[in-house]
């Protein structure tokens, strides 16, 4: 007889053994269920059942968990890209998003990051609108940067810019070694 695959030969061999009296159940289908998931794994994880079943279980657990994690990762990437595009227009992420939400602009981060890559002029107009709106809001007056030449004791580092991360206060002295 000509056998087209090892598995088929093995199954016939086992069936013959069954008829001869050794009553082991045929586990081929059960094992194939796992091997169909692990055919592209490395080494014994694709050929040996006891190792493959552990690898397959881990793979399925990770796939389940990462369906939630993927959404988190994608959102972080969108936020990063929007922040980068806003830096080109000298604006920041938090005021931009807060202004858009208060103005009832229903654009989520997924759409915004697409706009900032593929529609730069549209994004620029959005940023201009947000900047104007931000200047009209009440918080701007409280945290507006102080004009140079005026010393203030209160909120000095906060007033340096819109939420920029310059942590050194004005009175800090720097030394050079050269």
């Amino acid at each position: 007889m000509v056998f087209l695959s090892r598995q088929v030969y093995g199954r016939l061999h086992r069936l013959r053994k069954m008829h001869e009296g050794i009553t082991h159940p045929d586990r081929t289908n059960k094992k194939n269920f796992i091997f169909r998931m692990t055919w592209h794994f490395y080494g014994r994880r694709r050929n040996c059942y006891t190792i493959a079943i552990r690898a397959a279980q881990k793979m399925l657990q990770r796939a389940s968990k990462n369906r939630h994690q993927k959404k988190i990762n994608m959102k972080a990437l969108w936020v990063q890209r929007i922040t980068a595009a806003l830096q080109e227009h000298q604006f920041e992420y938090t005021p931009f998003m807060s202004v858009l939400s208060e103005a009832d602009v229903q654009l989520n981060r997924k759409v915004l990051h697409d706009i900032c890559i593929y529609e730069p002029r549209t994004f620029q107009s959005l940023v201009e609108f947000a900047k104007q709106r931000y200047n009209e809001m009440g918080l701007y007056d409280a945290v507006a940067p102080v004009p140079p030449g005026i010393m203030t004791r209160s909120m000095s580092w906060y007033k340096k810019g819109l939420f920029t991360g310059s942590a050194l206060p004005d009175w800090c002295v720097l030394y050079i070694w050269s």
């Binding site: 990437l77 080109e88 310059s166 050194l168 050079i176 070694w177 050269s178």
Partner: protein
Amino acid sequence: MAHNRVVQWSTMSRIWWLYDAKYQCPFRSARIIAGYLQGQHKPIYHALSDVGDHVVVINSRHIAMREELWRTFTFSYHTGYAKGFSRTPAWRLHSMEPTMMIEKAVYSNMPGFLLRRKYMRRLHIYPDEEVPPEIIGNVCDQIQQIQKVPKRLDEYTAEEIQAFPKLFDWSEEYVIENISADKPKDTVKAAKK
């Protein structure tokens, strides 16, 4: 129409940035420079796609640190062999190698992934303003300095001092005491003489 198509090709190009580190804090500069090397300033950023740019840092000899950091801040290194641990204060390392402080700061500011050394090869640091022509010829844009460098009093021109608004001035009859002339003289020395 053709013009718009060409404008978008330059999105994928690798840009050479210039950064002047004169009187700047090396650690805070390094955070910005590491971001540019990874391409985090671009809207097309992704960690796996290599969108990082080149950064040329000049005047790294003239960086500034606050308070006693030149004396107290130490760089540690272990060679891996026995008795291979050494600690060098910042002033000493900077005297020996004026480019090393920025290099170390940028390296530690980047995440510890496999692309870090590849990105570090795109960082070119020079102690003074002398940069080879093949490097300076590539530079297209400049990163803004972290700290505004204040003007020294002797750097103000006479016209600027004249033009600066004055609230009031002493009248000519008012006598301003000469502080150096009124220094309390050493009475013991005077008595000995």
